[in-house]
Symmetry: C2
Subunit: 345 residues, 2 copies
């Protein structure tokens, strides 16, 4: 009975099984422990062993079985990310989360909420995979529910203000963003600046507040005007029509988000109002939409990259550095100047 060379290559249990740690160990003639150490880059094994193991692993096409290693190590080094797969902004966030997590040696497991799959289910999945921390993009659950979750695993809420729940929050300053928009418009000479609202969410509240504060700051209380709306194109269109029906058009319109702004643009163009010739229009979010040359919408970017990095940092601090008191990171959004704003004529 030979035991050396081809012991592993042609195991009697069939050819189709994926190779295990044991197989590469047998091929090299060392223990599985050594192979495990080498493959994870843990210092200890000699250079010679390292090389031989690496070679054997490559030859066998060995690939670690995560489920097993996750189970064996107390740590999983997995960050659970809940996303709304239909949101382009979330897509950007995920992309940056991937790179940020990779840099600190963590991996991501994604779970998505959709119309037919709620936040709860999505989070359960993340937990079932043993995520060590939960990064929730735009969670809609109540502060209490999130706080309860936080007791199972550190929760980092991204993109939304959470009223005094004790959790980590990473978001950008929505009021500041709208403030920048108003500043920009005022600088261009506008005074009659109307705002199209975004409904009843926390974010909408912040942006509306930002608009009001900025107008006051510029001594334009008299021009404050908020039209009812929500986050859809249809709402923007409705609001714009309302303005068109009114006595006098404002010289600038600020919308809750890009979708809404595009509705505004559509209505104005249909009415033959020139943008930015007669009226300037600004959105919010820097959607893929706003970048289309046919819109070329001036808007506000939420810097997905920074938010993603901060979220990962927050998770790592919780997991590896024992931080326990919650922290809120508020980033400053950035005005993106495009073609729908111009000097007031």
């Amino acid at each position: 009975m030979r035991v050396d060379d081809d012991a592993s290559a042609s195991r009697r249990d069939g050819a189709s099984k994926r190779p295990r740690l044991e197989d590469v160990a047998a091929r090299v003639g060392v223990s599985t422990a050594s192979v495990s150490l080498v493959l994870r880059g843990v210092p200890g094994p000699s250079e010679r062993t390292r090389q031989r193991v690496l070679k054997a692993a490559a030859e066998l096409g060995y690939q670690v079985d995560r489920t097993a290693s996750l189970l064996a190590s107390r740590r999983t080094r997995l960050l659970g990310v809940m996303v709304d797969i239909h949101s382009p902004f979330h897509a950007d966030l995920v992309e940056h989360l991937h790179t940020a997590a990779e840099e600190v040696g963590y991996d991501l497991v994604l779970s998505t909420q959709t119309r037919t799959r709620d936040e709860h289910t999505a989070v359960e999945t993340l937990l079932a995979f043993r995520s060590e921390a939960l990064i929730l993009l735009g969670p809609t659950a109540s502060g209490d529910a999130l706080a309860a979750l936080d007791r199972k695993a550190p929760v980092i809420a991204v993109g939304r203000r959470i009223a005094d729940a004790d959790l980590d929050v990473v978001r950008s300053a929505d009021d500041d963003g709208v403030g920048q928009v108003v500043d920009h418009l005022v600088e261009l000479g506008h005074r009659a600046i109307t705002y199209v609202d975004g409904g009843k969410g926390v974010i909408a509240t912040d942006r509306r507040r930002g608009y009001r504060a900025a107008m006051r700051r510029h001594g334009l209380e008299a021009h404050i005007g908020v039209l009812r709306g929500d986050n859809t194109e249809a709402a923007g269109e409705r609001a714009a029509r309302q303005l068109l029906d009114g006595a006098e058009l404002p010289t600038a319109i600020v919308a809750f988000n890009d979708q809404s702004a595009i509705g505004v643009l559509a209505a104005l163009s249909r009415a033959g109002v020139a943008v930015p010739g007669e009226v300037s229009v600004v959105g919010y979010d820097d959607d893929a939409l706003s970048r289309l040359s046919c819109f070329n919408l001036t808007t506000v970017s939420q810097s997905a990259r920074e938010q993603a990095r901060h979220a990962v940092v927050a998770a790592v601090e919780r997991l590896d550095q024992g931080r326990t008191e919650p922290r809120e990171v508020v980033l400053t959004p950035r005005l993106v100047l495009r073609g729908t704003t111009a000097e007031r004529v």
Copy 2:
């Protein structure tokens, strides 16, 4: 030493650990085997045991540890899905994949390719989680590479034709889709129908071919015109400008996809050409974009729902019904009539 009531509630090893099978077993006073059987709904345990286990599990807030159960059971019942997180069409697919998979008792693990994370990495992740089958949305790898992958786990390629690689493919008939568009336009009286191409991918080839075939079918060989383009708005705009510079404008323009069609629309509107008054325009994909009221683009829908269902069915057939010979499912796309097509004047 008591061993009954509070044995599990306050384990001496600390309060923070998540409860294990053993904990609920101890609380009920049965073996972990029984608890496992009950929790998975396997017939065997008596009704009485079942009720008590369920109650205890609920009280403890027990939640199965997937990594452990995946490892223990030979099967993982996990379908690995690779998506491009920036694609709205993929988002739709994922949504339907979730429901379809759930119906047959499978779960999804998602991995995304982005600009900074390639297809290979994404697939490795899926494999590391022990996905039993791989559902790849719009894979760009070569047929050979995919065939190699298929040897590790059944691969179902969605959305793209794969030249004679032996794997499952689910896609819609792109040539047929464009054919329907041409039929529709011809029915409206159009004869000068120009096509804006989509570049060098397999999909672009199929759509272009569909256009040519349909034109010939209607005896319009003389009117065949294909303009260079790709899948971007900018390309559509460029192509449209080229047409505007030419001697005579066609009465209808068919674009490779919605993005390109929107570029065409932008260029036409800038030149003061009425759509659909003077020229009809059609896109492809039924993007969220095409539904915007400001575009209201006539387009072709690829029925994400059906493709998702077929992909899951294909995976299940491979995994549970021992199908081994590859199958290609080609669905018929559906023309979506909106506002950018009208009778030729």
